[in-house]
């Protein structure tokens, strides 16, 4: 029996400023699974994720994106976010004057204070306390009172993005290099966090990465390799150490020969 995949990309062609980046990509993401989208630099990995999120500079020239079987090409970013699609930015823009903790409470219903204003007589709402505990778990307590993304270090950006995307409880999340710029300790923190999401099995995870550590730790189900804006290989976990050893060029040419 054919199950409708959560997200299906059909022959997608995407251009930015008139130059074509994706040249007809078709692939699927099924509910609850973990995917790695890999490929050499400039192969179109981030473009794929951003086009799915609906960022307007990514112009879809042909093909379709189906979410639960229905095209979402006419839905804007907000609508896609509310459907359950989330994207963790590689380099999120600074929003001056908007405090990080206030922003999280704004976008995540579960952290919103349910008590009327002035009820606490100077004490913080329990949702806020929970939020601060969760910040601590990801090691970002120091960001709470800072302006969103303003002067965040590379590692802080990654953890803040991950925090936001997780807190939105999406159906499918695209994590654009969640592990770049992280030191070993942060890498472990992020890995553990992602692992616990995987174990819950309620969210499809798509990880764009160059590093094997996170992917192996997460035990990805499916590996997609993009090259030159096309899907050139579909495999699984076992390909990752081979890839790491041989590099894309050799790996892909050997696969071609074998086929």
């Amino acid at each position: 029996m054919y199950m409708t995949p959560l997200l299906e990309i059909q022959d997608l062609k995407v251009s930015i400023d008139g130059s074509q980046i994706l040249n007809g990509v078709s692939l699927q993401f099924e509910a609850g699974k973990v995917y790695a989208v890999l490929g050499p630099n400039a192969s179109g990995k981030s473009t794929l994720a951003k086009a799915i999120m609906g960022l307007p500079e990514f112009n879809i020239t042909s093909g379709d994106i189906l979410y639960n079987g229905e095209s979402i090409l006419d839905d804007n970013i907000t609508e896609r976010a509310n459907m359950g699609i989330a994207y963790a930015f590689q380099i999120p823009p600074a929003i001056p004057g908007v405090r990080f903790d206030d922003f999280i409470c704004r976008i995540c219903p579960e952290y919103q204070c349910k008590e009327p204003e002035g009820h606490f007589m100077g004490k913080a709402c329990s949702c806020r306390m929970e939020l601060y505990d969760d910040f601590e778990r990801l090691g970002i307590s120091n960001l709470a009172y800072r302006d969103l993304n303003e002067g965040f270090s590379g590692g802080e950006q990654k953890r803040s993005e991950l925090f936001q995307v997780l807190a939105m409880q999406p159906q499918i999340m695209f994590l654009d290099e969640p592990d770049s710029g992280l030191d070993y300790d942060s890498l472990k923190l992020v890995g553990r966090e992602l692992k616990s999401i995987r174990e819950k099995g309620t969210t499809t995870m798509v990880v764009i990465s160059h590093h094997r550590y996170i992917l192996e730790f997460l035990e990805v189900d499916v590996v997609y390799i993009l090259q030159g804006g096309r899907l050139v290989y579909t495999g699984d976990m076992e390909d990752i150490p081979v890839l790491a050893e041989k590099g894309y060029e050799r790996f892909l040419s050997e696969m071609k020969e074998a086929a």
Binding site: P56, I77, T78, Y87, P96, G97, V98
Partner: protein, 407 residues
Amino acid sequence: MTSSERKEQAEAAKDRKATYGADIDLDEYQFGGNPQKMAADQISEDDKDLVEEVGFRTDQKGVSGSFAQFDNESILADVLMSQEGLEVMPISQALTKYDWLSDYLWNAVSVDTDKYTARSELESYDGYFIRALPGQKIRMPVQTCLVMKKKQFAQNVHNILIAEEGSELHIVTGCATPSTVEQSLHLGVSEFYVKKDARMTFTMVHKWNEAVDVRPRSAAIVQENGVFVSSYAILSPIKSIQTYPKVRLVGKNARAELYSVVYGTKDSVYDIGGSLMLEAEGSSGKVISRTIATENSEIIARGDLQGRVAGVKARLECNGLLLSKSAKIVAVPVLDASAEGVELSHEATVGKVGADQLNYLMSRGLTEDEATSLIVRGFIKLQAPDLPPALQRTIDEAVQLTLEQGL
């Protein structure tokens, strides 16, 4: 300067056009009036609503003193019974009470600056005198409010504020006019004196209407280790406002910070500036403006830092956000150093809401309007580190209220 010398100088300058701002024909307005004293419980219900919109508490809760003036007709001046070391009274009364006060009159602001200062001197005026006595730390703010209700009328006030040596004084002031007033003019001269080791903060919220022209003339003199912080928000439409407060830092390590927030609407013209003259060793300061132009409004944000001795340090920021195709923002930063080792810097930006910011916030589930409003709110948030939290809230609340109506 004697009274007759002052009048002479004013007479000579009475046709002198101001450097900036549209010229106003002062003969179109009626001056004069002889304000009578009133008590807080004599304020009418309508007036109460009006003054409360700019943060004036008619119940006088949480304030150390109050001053309100309606046109040039009635004046309320009150100091909390338990508050020691604070004086709040009409300037007319203060000038009679203290001979020495005439030395402060037209000292920070020159009487012959332009036709507005000249006319202000030549016509009868009132206004407020607020003083913290030496060493008195007055933590609760003094509130003042100037209300203009009469048509074809010029409200002419002259204020003098003094923080004596080692004192602390916070003033929160609102100016307001009902939306029905047609063609009026507000001339406000304010002179601030911050003595050695004293601190003064001045927080002002303006709420005028499209038929009102406003020409404040303000200046401050700050002495050794003194701190002067001015925060100004104008959030309503207006016909035109032109203001360019000047601060002279004359004592060692004196410091001043001028913040302004302008939310431009309708066809209003706002010419807002701030100037710091760093004349003494170790003096420092900031001039920061955040402007938002919507509809057909036009905003000119000026800033001027003048470093006169070695080692002084100041920063100028003019940041503007354009939310309409027919609005206009001009940022005019000026840095002028005439000594070695002066450290002056500026940042001026004018732009629209960034697409990358919008897309980012929308990807977190906010609609385009919600995202724009969040960016604008963040942009306009004034963070004056020296402002007491209660006054910071006054400004924040006024800004939020305006944005809710405007966006």
